[in-house]
């Protein structure tokens, strides 16, 4: 090192400069993340000092931050309906997607012939990168007319029947299926072949081998897939926003019809209403964004915790 420095001393400054530049770029990533939390976080709590009540914000159900439709003309910061909407569509879409995705991933890794794998791999990759607005458009021209015909009589409000949570759940299903499938495939592939061979050598059938040996060995990886699917579902915006089309949470919540009439969630309201709202109303949207940020952060932490516990990677 000493000798090297003496001989090539002239080239070292460039080397050191390059190193510092690279380090800066790596640190920029942390800076961006801190910036996201800092900027949105510092703006998130302002709405509570401007007349919003914390309890009403989370449990009230009338959302109108610009006060255009309230009787008094005062803004109404009650995001309970929005939060409920996000939770419901995320929960149901993940609930439906998970068995389908696991089935597909098992088929892909354990049963499918080579040539089919080679066909399916690019298909799943293309679908993972599907623009969300295109999926939303698909929902708008296929899923909604279909639901309208199926459940129109049940809801009975003609034109708008079909929009709502049900359509959003189906659209989200299309969005998160490829995500969960591809991460599940990685998790199943990480299980070494010896586990499968040992199970088969003990006389299990293929099905026993999958359910008793492969799936237990890949549990944490599969759980990570579901958590990341949830994270994607809760933040999905445009696809969901196109098929929700609601203003407020419907009055009657506990009927099946609630899934098939215009409804709300967090991201839809941000996408539709944020540009048209100014002042105090806009502050309410930073709070909603912060809620999404915290939820997605928790999901990432959970997925990291699960990944750290997995045996095979």
């Amino acid at each position: 090192m000493q000798v090297g420095q003496q001989v090539t001393g002239r080239t070292y400054p460039a080397d050191r400069l390059a190193r510092i530049v690279f380090l800066m770029c790596a640190i920029l990533l942390i800076a961006v993340l801190v910036g996201v939390f800092l900027f949105i976080g510092t703006n998130a709590f302002r709405v509570f000092s401007e007349g919003a009540n914390v309890k009403d914000f989370f449990f009230g159900t009338y959302w109108d931050p610009s006060g255009n439709t309230t009787v008094s003309g005062n803004p109404s910061f009650q995001a309970g309906g929005l939060i409920l909407g996000s939770i419901v569509i995320t929960f149901f879409s993940v609930l439906i997607a998970t068995p389908l995705a696991f089935g597909m991933a098992l088929f892909f890794t354990e049963l499918s012939p080579r040539w089919l794998v080679r066909l399916l791999q690019p298909l799943i990759e293309v679908f993972t990168g599907m623009p969300s607005v295109v999926v939303g458009f698909f929902g708008l021209i296929i899923i909604i007319p279909l639901l309208q015909r199926l459940v129109g009589p049940l809801v009975g409000n003609g034109q708008t029947a079909g929009y709502g949570w049900g359509a959003a759940i189906l659209v989200l299903l299309i969005m998160i299926l490829p995500t969960i499938i591809s991460i599940s495939i990685d998790a199943l592939r990480a299980v070494p072949g010896s586990v499968r061979e040992a199970s088969l050598a003990l006389g299990s059938t293929r099905w026993q081998m999958m359910t008793r040996a492969v799936i237990p060995a890949a549990t944490t990886g599969l759980a990570t897939a579901v958590v990341l699917g949830m994270a994607r579902a809760i933040g999905e915006t445009l696809a969901v926003s196109l098929v929700l089309d609601g203003q407020q949470l419907p009055k009657k919540l506990f009927t099946p019809a609630v899934f098939f009439q215009p409804n709300v969630n967090i991201t839809q309201y941000i996408a539709i209403d944020f540009p048209e709202t100014l002042g105090v109303g806009r502050d309410a949207y930073w709070t909603l964004a912060f809620i999404l940020l915290v939820i997605s952060f928790l999901f990432v932490c959970l997925s990291r915790y699960l990944a750290s516990r997995s045996v095979y990677r």
Binding site: T8, R19, G103, L120, T205
Partner: protein
């Protein structure tokens, strides 16, 4: 006595045999049902995917052959196509060097430890932040605090934040494929680290780097939520300029606006709106397919050139 015993054992044997046969039958049936269900699900999901892609390709394909579709007329989306590629190039110019530099630091310089773990954790967290939230962050950080307003520059910087984690991971993977011996060979010849990286690591990692660039391009072309508020939904009259300080819409945001909040209020007939939305959706799918094919083909082609040379 002994006869009786033999009869008993043979009886027990036959019941045991029958039991075993029942067990085997049950297991075989379970296996058949289980694998059958999996095959069913696999084929169903695959058909669903194929069906959606084929449907989206076909439903708007007629518009792709209309000259008016590429004009600046009522159903023309020439400004949106221009903006999409403009923002793609601008965002890649900003984000690729930064992401590549960060990846080089992590792979070539940093020791495994707290710093690398922190960066990876930050990258994962940032990748998990919903793009609409990043869009709002972009409004705060770039449009308001940096006084860029609703502009292409603000959009490109927001895309940097959105794309950074993905680009970093892909670049890291590309650099990690370069064998250790090549680095050691370079260093043993007396090259400095940076010289070695320039002349040894990056050329050998080129196929992976190109693939990474193409994949991030796909993400940028399909992105809309992060650009809604940072780049706006309207085009000024001087849309076909290189100025990064004007607002503009892209294929995705335009499709969203015409199909969603703007439907019925764009001043167009329903047929014209359908032309725009259906055509744009098909065009986006075509671009996506081209990008995927290119990501596979180009990386491999470069690898062949590099390894042959």
């Amino acid at each position: 006595m002994s006869m009786q015993q033999t009869a008993q054992t043979s009886l027990a044997g036959s019941t045991r045999l029958a039991e075993q046969q029942r067990l085997v039958r049950r297991l075989k049936l379970g296996n058949a049902v289980g694998t059958g269900t999996l095959c069913g699900i696999g084929i169903l999901v695959a058909l669903l995917f194929v069906g959606i892609i084929v449907y989206l390709l076909l439903q708007g394909s007629a518009y792709l052959f209309l000259p008016e579709f590429y004009s600046t007329g009522p159903i023309g989306i020439r400004p949106e196509i221009y903006n999409t590629f403009y923002i793609l190039i601008l965002a890649e110019i900003i984000s690729l060097p930064i992401a590549l530099a960060a990846a080089i630091y992590l792979i070539e310089y940093a020791r495994q430890g707290v710093f690398v773990t922190t960066i990876h954790f930050a990258a994962e967290t940032l990748a998990g932040v919903p793009s609409i939230v990043l869009g709002l962050f972009g409004v705060l950080a770039f449009s308001i605090y940096a006084h860029l307003g609703t502009s292409r520059a603000a959009g490109a910087l927001t895309l940097l934040c959105l794309n950074f984690p993905l680009a970093l991971r892909l670049f890291e993977d590309a650099l990690a494929t370069v064998p250790r011996e090549m680095r050691e060979g370079g260093l043993a010849l007396g090259a400095t680290r940076w010289h070695m990286i320039r002349t040894v690591v990056i050329p050998s990692a080129l196929p992976g780097i190109v693939t990474a660039v193409i994949l991030t391009a796909g993400k940028i072309i399909g992105e809309a939520a992060a650009l809604l508020f940072t780049m706006g939904l309207n085009n000024p009259s001087d849309v076909f300029t290189l100025s990064p300080f004007i607002a503009s819409d892209t294929l995705t945001t335009h499709l969203y606006y015409v199909a969603g909040p703007g439907a019925g209020s764009t001043g167009l007939t329903t047929a014209q709106e359908t032309a725009i939305t259906a055509g744009s959706a098909t065009l986006l799918i075509v671009l996506l397919l081209i990008i995927n094919v290119a990501a596979r083909g180009l990386g491999r082609a470069i690898q062949r050139r590099v390894t042959a040379a």
